[in-house]
């Protein structure tokens, strides 16, 4: 056996990194659940997607991506209050997250609340290929014009 392998410093480091590896491998991961949820969401199976995202949320409640998808799934299921909660939480976690901003704007639009015109325009510029975003921006514009009259 090489001499360095008997060194307590080396042994300690090996023990530490192995223990960390075991701990890490046993730790449940949000990512597989998140990816499964995303695949279900793509297939428009929103309820099942929400269940997967909910499991991922249980593992890592601070993952903005998971929180945002919880919001989108709830929105698709027309559970507006839940959707609002998750988008707001996502915005608290990452105030600059465009998906969270977009989700919150959609919730407002769907529930007939007043839309922030400037914000809607910025989002439309950020997501130029999304017709729904464009429609929302148009609605915001109209709301503002109506408000001014």
């Amino acid at each position: 056996m090489p001499k360095w392998m008997k060194n307590r410093l080396v042994i300690g480091l090996v023990v530490f990194f192995t223990a960390m590896g075991i701990w890490e491998s046993r730790k449940p991961r949000f990512r597989p659940m998140y990816q499964q949820g995303a695949a279900l969401y793509q297939q428009q199976r929103y309820l099942q997607a929400l269940q997967q995202f909910d499991r991922a949320y249980g593992v890592d409640p601070n993952q903005v991506a998971v929180v945002v998808m919880m919001g989108w799934s709830n929105l698709k299921l027309r559970r507006y209050e839940e959707a609002r909660f998750y988008f707001q939480r996502a915005q608290r976690l990452d105030p600059r997250n465009p998906e969270a901003q977009l989700g919150a704007a959609f919730v407002a639009w769907h529930t007939g609340q007043r839309l922030d015109g400037n914000k809607a325009q910025r989002l439309a510029a950020r997501f130029p290929d999304d017709p729904e975003v464009r429609a929302m921006a148009e609605a915001a514009k109209k709301q503002e014009a109506g408000g001014r009259r």
Binding site: R8, G12, D60, N62
Partner: protein, 473 residues
Amino acid sequence: MHDRVLLVLDYVNSVILVYFVVTNVVYTLLMLVSLYAVTMHSKYAARVSHQELLDSPVTPPVALIVPAHNEEEGIVQTVLSLLELEYSEKELIVVDDGSTDRTAERLIERFALEPADFIYRPRLPGRTPLGFYYNPAHPELLLIRKENGGKPDALNVGINMARSPYFCTVDADSIIEQQALLRLMAPVLRSRAPTVVSGGVVRIANGCTVRNGKIVALDLPRGWLERCQVVEYIRTFLFGRPGWNFLNATFIASGAFCLLHRESVIAAGGFGTDTVTEDIDVIASLHRTLRAKGEPYRMVFATDPICWTEAPKDLRMLARQRRRWQLGLLQTVVKHHDMIFNRRYGALGMLSMPFHAYIEAVGCLVEALGTVLIPFSFLVGAMPWSLFLLLMLLAVGYGTLLSTGSILMEEATIGRYPRVGHVVTLMAYALLENIGYRQMMAFCRAQGVIQYLLGRRRWETVRKSGMAEAAHA
């Protein structure tokens, strides 16, 4: 592939998180112990009459050993300051370690030293002296000239020539406060167990005015790098070493100013030449020898004996110094690895050695990695905002707390800086030190570890501009 990268990132981030949490828990405990130890010591120091120690017949003689290699700029200043130290019986041995400049000549001229014949008994291995220089008008001073063999070799030669039961290692570019040697000896005399090591505090002299080997005006240096070092030194010497000393688990005592028991050091084999930090190595060797003998002993650390030294002014030299320290620390913990988690060595084996091995010697790699990886992970979205914030708080916020705490403690106990402005400036630098400086030092230290792993184990010379300029200021 993407998933595997994220998996690795998750693993590394967990390692970094665990490292920071463990480190900060240990530092907190150490801080609490240090706080108690420093407070107790300052209360004791306020009561001790140094005049009594000076006059006492039981105060043992001390040999001051100054290894000098190419120190012509400051050697006369250092010797003058050491000769004026308040101490009843001392000998001053300057070992010229094969200087290629006029280090020896400066001393010979200034003190009118003449060649003398002395009996040399080599109890420790070392290059044979080429000559001894002495002047009966300065009976305390002895100059030894020898071939270059490195600092540990010079120290061993000095120990061989010393007659006193204790010796004090002093760097040739240091200035020791007049009562510092007495203060260093005070805990030795107070201790019930035989004391083999007494360490003092090293502070940065950059910015101070030096005249005739004495600091006549205290001030802070102008440069930010030196000011960060001032804060760093205060933290190290007030929030670390006193704690380990309290637990009787001292592993590091600065060789710039350290009192050692001569016979114990000889029994431990003297200063080893196989590491670049002989001062750490000798402490570990002393622990090993004395534990093997089963003799009671104590190593103490006092916060009031102060030695002033010059800190590197530019980043290149500072990086060299830190690489060397890191390399030496790693060499020493590898050499004495059998002490790690060894119950036979008590708190040293179970607490201090693991701390110095895993946190101080190797931990800088994790710290350097964390400096790069934490912001990277956060930016690529592999780390949640909350974890990023927690790690930043642990890395920067906690460091700032420790630094500011140590400055306040310095002010409350030792209080060397005379102006409020100094303290305010140091508090500001306690914050700045944790944003940039500490991260840079982590990289330098990590380089030292990498040098060790690559097999580059040589001494990197740190050139200093010398404090002599200030002497003429």
